[in-house]
Symmetry: D2
């Protein structure tokens, strides 16, 4: 079928390519002409303005937005006057699900249908397929099935879970799922990303323990300010993290795609020198914690993962100064330099 794509960054570009491979007709638009040109060369119908973009789509139109969350509302406001009854806006970016609920309710008063799609898979999605978590009206979501089916990995990619009743019509088995009403897709994607933060931090903390397992080899001087290492003989291992990651990928309980990526990175750059150790976060991790708090659900692991990123950007600096000030106050402690 025909789909319009607005926002041709890494994600939007790859999704259009995958859709065209699946036989779909794509009309594309981006504020950067070179992004449009790249996909036109690959077979898409390009457009130089939102007006032209809309005019190339047959009604009822299906317009997929693949934009930074912060500008999605602005683009929707520009699109709405150009659309007609029964047209569909699909937000495949990382919107806050609160915004989906609001948008769904607003747009339907104008006859426009809204669908939120949480999209996982990153830059590997082009080949691996995207995991799609979808929210919106049931009939509207079903009408977009051909699109979702082409973007998703497909049923052959992974056998169904043990104990699952075989269901050839299950879209979950194909890699896309209508999760519920407006916002449901981004809610499930938000939690997916919250989990992702926790998984990533678990590997990172574990590898950090292995990395420092040779501290017993360094000499430590006795002083009253630093905790002495009672048993240096327990910390004299010099682990090859490349090989450890490689072996864990085979038969262990902690095999995962994230471990595969970690192993790839360690093989390219064992000390990860090219990374500064300042880790961004892009919204879903925060929203996951806020939702958990609203629900009174304890999420110590997911929060710790988020806070680790904040600390990596030194946002704990003033708090640490307060600690040092207290220590100076009650104990006259002067802090030691970094170790």
């Amino acid at each position: 079928m025909q789909l319009g794509m607005v926002g041709l960054g890494r994600m939007g570009n790859y999704m259009v390519q995958r859709l065209m491979r699946g036989g779909h007709e794509c009309v594309v638009y981006d504020t950067k002409p070179e992004s449009v040109a790249d996909l036109v060369e690959k077979g898409a119908a390009g457009s130089a303005s939102l007006e032209e973009f809309v005019s190339k789509l047959s009604r009822p139109r299906a317009v997929w937005l693949m934009l930074p969350a912060a500008i999605t509302d602005k683009v929707i406001a520009q699109l709405v006057p150009l659309l007609h009854d029964d047209d569909i806006i699909i937000d495949g970016g990382n919107s806050y699900y609160h915004d989906d609920i609001r948008r769904g309710a607003e747009l339907i008063t104008k006859g426009i249908h809204y669908v939120d799609v949480g999209t996982s898979g990153g830059v590997f999605g082009l080949e691996r397929g995207y995991c799609l978590m979808i929210g919106g009206e049931k009939g509207i979501v079903q009408s977009l099935s051909p699109i979702f089916a082409s973007l998703a990995p497909g049923a052959g990619s992974t056998p169904p879970s043990a104990n699952r009743k075989p269901d050839p019509n299950s879209t979950a088995e194909q890699g896309y799922l209508h999760c519920g009403a407006h916002g449901a897709g981004h809610f499930v994607k938000m939690v997916h990303n919250g989990i992702e933060y926790g998984l990533m931090a678990a590997y990172a903390e574990g590898l950090n323990i292995l990395k420092r397992a040779n501290i017993g080899a360094a000499a430590h001087e006795a002083d009253a300010e630093t905790a002495p290492l009672s048993h240096p003989e327990h910390y004299r291992y010099d682990f090859n993290l490349q090989d450890v990651a490689e072996v864990w990928r085979r038969g262990s309980v902690i095999t995962s795609w994230l471990l595969d990526l970690t192993s790839d990175a360690l093989h390219a750059d064992p000390a990860l020198m090219k990374f500064a150790g300042r880790v961004s976060d892009s919204g879903e991790g925060r929203w996951t914690i806020m939702a958990a708090i609203d629900e009174s659900v304890p999420t110590p692991v997911l929060s710790a993962a988020l806070y680790g990123r904040f600390s990596s950007r030194d946002n704990d600096e003033f708090a640490n100064k307060v600690l040092s000030a207290m220590r100076a106050g009650f104990g006259g402690h002067l802090e030691k330099p970094k170790t």
Copy 2:
């Protein structure tokens, strides 16, 4: 080659089976005669005592122990008088790596070699192969290669990491790895399990958020003791966790073997009714935190995962009473019943 196995529980039994499939000759012993009998029927040489067991092994003997960590030292003490120079004791259980360092040093004074093997893979190892993390003297570990190669998944199971220099001789690519000196195997396995705790908790917390995403549907009365839910309209989702787990298994960033197992379990029993919600821990998670603290490595995620298990067993009960007592003290608060 020939291997002796002591301890024929689930793990020991399956490992013997896998070894015999690999063409190895296994001599087996367990204090439970029926455990011995089962493997004899499958082709192993059984024994009714440790003495008989040792007598059936050719020198230099290789004796693999697959025992609860708490009794391994006792069995080693019984074995040592029966062994000779150059015999090898392999501990494949979940020993604390401190014990490995001690045992390695003690046994070598008696001419006996010690190898510690962290073994991951659980009950699936029989078919999937075991991930083996190995510590000990290099030559001794190499002499056991045929055994390790049969237990491990093998190179065909998973392609090498991107950026890895192709190395047909790499044992990491086959699923087993000599990690370093005595204790190195169990150290890496300990951290593996620490990571495992974190990964498990990340999925569990995320699924719990999805599970309670419909709390907005319940009515809440206004009172001064309970935080009101400002926006109940944001929590009216009734997610199908089976389908969510199923779809996440395809193309998402959080695909993993643990997710596969979780999905299997949710399909068998969507509300997980048969579990009481009290979660054991078996040592490695604790030791991981202790090692991290010795190394001054922050592990908030792995610790939170461990503490969640302690709390699941109500070990926070007195602490919670202290909180209620303080609240009663300063605010005259009477706690509400569970919600």
Copy 3:
């Protein structure tokens, strides 16, 4: 001066009493006639309706609300039509500061001034005085100084901080502070309560460690499911928690009012039998975390304190079942009963 008080629960009642002791004239209202009657007996002017309440106040009126956060907006809506230009509404309850910002902006369009007051001190405030954190227009806040001065502990209660320039006009030294614009008072109070959660949890966790310091005296059986205690001889202390709390109150680094209250409670009931161990939370702890996340400030301690309360109410139950399900999946583990 004259003040009207709406909401005569524990907090409102005591504040009116303290104000009358300070020579102020109080007009009071509550939906429960007996709450009004109690204060009329103590010298306040009672009222049977909001209309009567407002009619007894001289313009410009000062109306203090001491209500559950969930109904404050409803009462404001009832009050507004009865008030006139330059009247002042003061919210002394535990409102979310977002609501203060909204209300301040809305009310000023009607000529009504709004002041938010975070009030700490609990049931002890009657004698000890209340710590008041205030947000609103500067002139309006200053016009209420006589009220704040009477409610606060007063300068004599605590000497100024070391290094503080002596300032007899500092209201901070008297125990009340104009913190900033609308919402500033409740923001500072919110963070105060967030800190309170953390402090409380720190004591609770520490006392819990002391409480269980005799676990080495209990026998443990060796099995593969439970982590053995390596050194039971390290855990054979039977601490008298009453005496420990009492001694910590003298000269230690951790002296505090919360410790005093904890010690009081332990002396009344050493095992804290009358508490069930289910701990409520009333909003500020949650909002503190949400603000921290918006600000990218890591708050692992304050979050952990909040989550402990959620877990105390068993909101981690499904998450724990997921963990058990995974353990059953990969290891065939059957969980042990509670210990």
Copy 4:
């Protein structure tokens, strides 16, 4: 009575001064002659060697060690040959309680008694008195009562807890307590310090939230890598932290000695410029967590406080690089510079 003091750093020096004020006779020794000279000038009997030190003490001798934990065992080994039956060694430093248990057992075989004393109060102890937590044999501890009574704050310093049966003989009310057998004193002190870490972190995190409460005033650009601040209007407060700390010290629930010290520090240096934000830890915080884990007691707050210190010293750096490497792997994310 007579007491010998070895180790005349800040703590040892002040304790000798306080003891002499209490009418006790002090013999002192330190490897630094100037430290000895200072106290000789104040009235102590000095000594130039351990031998001279011991020779000046009457039997049964009471020798108090106030040394860095890492060298206590060395000094004990030097002392033991110089001592006789019924002499007493008191360790007032920050020893690990495991060491106390070991030392108590070893020394008694030589007829020497061992007492462990956890000492809290820091540099303020000279005037405020020290909170003493004591472990050892009951009779021996009692024989040292005059010493403990002079070091402690005394009963007048703080009224007994509500609900406490008045007991003029209670040493807890005087500020010192025999907590139990060998190690009990340092165990209670260890937990005291664990709590201290948690309290400190709670204040530090809360103040950090106040510090950054004006981030809404800064402009943020929309991009896909950084979580946008949805409501900048909620974060436009410019709090005066000095005044906030000052007001909290009066009537609030979070009054404490640590808050007093924090306020002192903020008044001396509002931005805490002289502190680098790298916070040391000196053993007890770590041991507290290890004890909690041995006891299966969840301590998320105390652990988070400890880990915050590790992170302040950048020990999370490799872990953060692993996170960035994963993000680059699945999303092609390039991290943003610090914000």
